[in-house]
């Protein structure tokens, strides 16, 4: 029988109340959102907080909206709500691709976007998706609000920059024209953590009658990629034509720069292969979707075919 160790429990009634509670109980307090990562960790004594601050009642932290040119996602938004949000999916298909393969439909009803990011599991799907999107994290404490780039948010396995007395409240992604995105994951079975996964975002533009890559975002998870991204592959792609060859070579660059480890999900060599292959596939699908969104012919034939 797995039961968490003794813990105190406080239910926050507002964001300010949550911040006060977190400040009062200090570093041994943990935020309890959906609980679908934290409670299993507590059962295994991998997490042993003294106090839980339950934020499930904070409905004003659950929303998905476009404001001032940014898609804004409240930290308490459930996975199922993000998956069901046409607004999020229309702007960034990578979010729907990723959500569709996170855990199972019942877990997705309760697990939260902010909770997954703060859990900072090295195999977290959303960490790669938001890294690819170059999202901004909004963190509040009693003195005010600060923002952190998602690529500076995770400081190591199960570690983030969110300090004691702080709460992740929102994730922001700039909305830009000509953008396409996708997520590709290989898992051992439905609902499992990835063996490897890649998210890709492409911002395309036309230059000299050719479709070139204005900017690219590539997120990787479970393969030991620093800060959940493939910065070298992104750099490689900038200014290049949006072709299958560019994507294959970017995949090679991404694979070279990640540091997977052999574990029960697979050998390091296989994970490295996945990092490259899934990067190339995600880029190709992202390019097709960008072409579809802007009415251009896709890089691999009629845009509609790969647009999914």
């Amino acid at each position: 029988m797995q039961v968490p160790a003794y813990v105190e429990y406080e239910r926050a009634t507002s964001v300010d109340d949550a911040l006060n509670l977190l400040a009062r109980f200090g570093p041994e307090a943990r935020v309890l959102a959906g609980g679908h990562s934290l409670i299993p960790m507590m059962k295994l004594r991998l997490a042993q907080p003294e106090t839980l601050v339950d934020i499930n009642g904070l409905r004003d932290l659950s929303y998905i909206a476009v404001t001032d040119g940014e898609l804004r996602i409240g930290a308490l938004t459930r996975h199922a709500d993000l998956l069901n949000s046409a607004l999020a999916g229309d702007h960034f298909a990578v979010l729907h691709d990723a959500e569709r393969v996170i855990a199972d439909p019942i877990v997705r009803l309760w697990g939260t976007v902010g909770g997954s990011l703060c859990q900072a599991d090295p195999s977290e799907d959303l960490s790669a998706a938001f890294a690819a999107l170059k999202a901004t994290m909004v963190i509040r404490n009693l003195s005010g609000t600060r923002t952190v780039a998602v690529r500076d948010f995770h400081t190591g396995p199960y570690e983030t920059v969110v300090g004691p007395g702080e709460l992740l409240t929102e994730i922001r992604i700039p909305v830009a024209a000509g953008c396409g995105s996708a997520y590709q994951k290989v898992g051992r079975r439905v609902g499992d953590w990835p063996v490897g996964a890649a998210g890709a975002v492409l911002w395309l533009e036309e230059a000299g009658g050719e479709v070139v890559i204005a900017d690219a975002g590539i997120g990787l998870t479970a393969v030991g990629a620093a800060r959940f991204c493939a910065a070298e592959a992104e750099e490689f792609l900038r200014g290049r034509p949006a072709t299958a060859e560019s994507f294959a070579r970017a995949g090679e660059v991404a694979a070279r720069h990640c540091r997977p480890v052999t574990d029960q999900r697979g050998p390091a060599q296989y994970k490295r292969h996945l990092a490259g292959e899934l990067t190339a596939r995600a880029l190709a699908l992202a390019a097709a979707r960008a072409a579809e969104a802007t009415g251009r012919a896709g890089p691999s034939g009629p845009a509609g075919q790969a647009g999914g």
Binding site: M1, Q2, V3, P4, A5, Y6, V7, E8, Y9, R11, L32, G35, H36, I39, P40, M42, K43, L52, D54, N56, A103, D104, P105, I106, V107, L109, W110, V190, G191
Partner: protein
């Protein structure tokens, strides 16, 4: 701390430790043992109950999180002693269970699915129960059971005046 949870329309107030899991509150504190306690890792789905209007794996929720909320378990699925839910009829008709360990969770998820999607395809049913494990049926008969319930309810809706009691025999629902 003291919690009050409404389970199947009855209020239960108990003094519990904050670390008590909802599944143990349901089984050990109030004695409703229909909900099963399986893998303890939110993988198997044997412990699925409804928290307010949505299914949840109750091994991964603290009882204190449900304080002031409503829970529905398999014991609350039937409308009355003689009036099983169509999902329960479906599982009985189509042999949707063998050992029965996964059945309470399967039926609560099926009820939730049918409330939102009255005519789910086999694929949609498999997707809905993909977080729940059955080691007996190979899922085929569970899918048939849910399809049977969907057909039963569609037929019942088509006969609004004659059919008001779900306890009667099914009106020729398809298999």
């Amino acid at each position: 701390m003291q919690v009050t949870i409404t389970v199947n329309d009855a209020e239960y107030t108990r003094e519990v430790e904050p670390r008590l899991l909802l599944i143990h509150f349901i089984r050990d504190e109030i004695g409703l043992t229909g909900s099963h306690w399986g893998c303890d890792t939110s993988n198997c789905g044997a412990c699925v109950v409804w928290l307010d209007e949505q299914p949840v794996k109750s091994c991964t929720v603290l009882a204190v999180m449900a304080d002031g909320h409503r829970v529905r378990t398999v014991e609350g699925l039937a409308a009355g002693d003689a009036q099983l839910d169509p999902v329960q009829h479906g599982f009985a008709r189509c042999h949707g269970l063998q050992c029965g360990f996964c059945t309470p969770g399967m039926m609560l998820t099926a009820r939730w699915l049918l409330d939102r999607n009255p005519d789910p395809s086999p694929q949609e049913i498999r997707e809905a129960i993909s977080g729940q494990i059955c080691r007996c049926t190979g899922y085929e008969n569970i899918v048939r059971s849910v399809r049977w319930a969907a057909g039963y309810e569609a037929a019942a809706r088509a006969l609004p005046d004659e059919r008001d009691s779900a306890g009667r025999d099914e009106p020729g629902a398809p298999r």
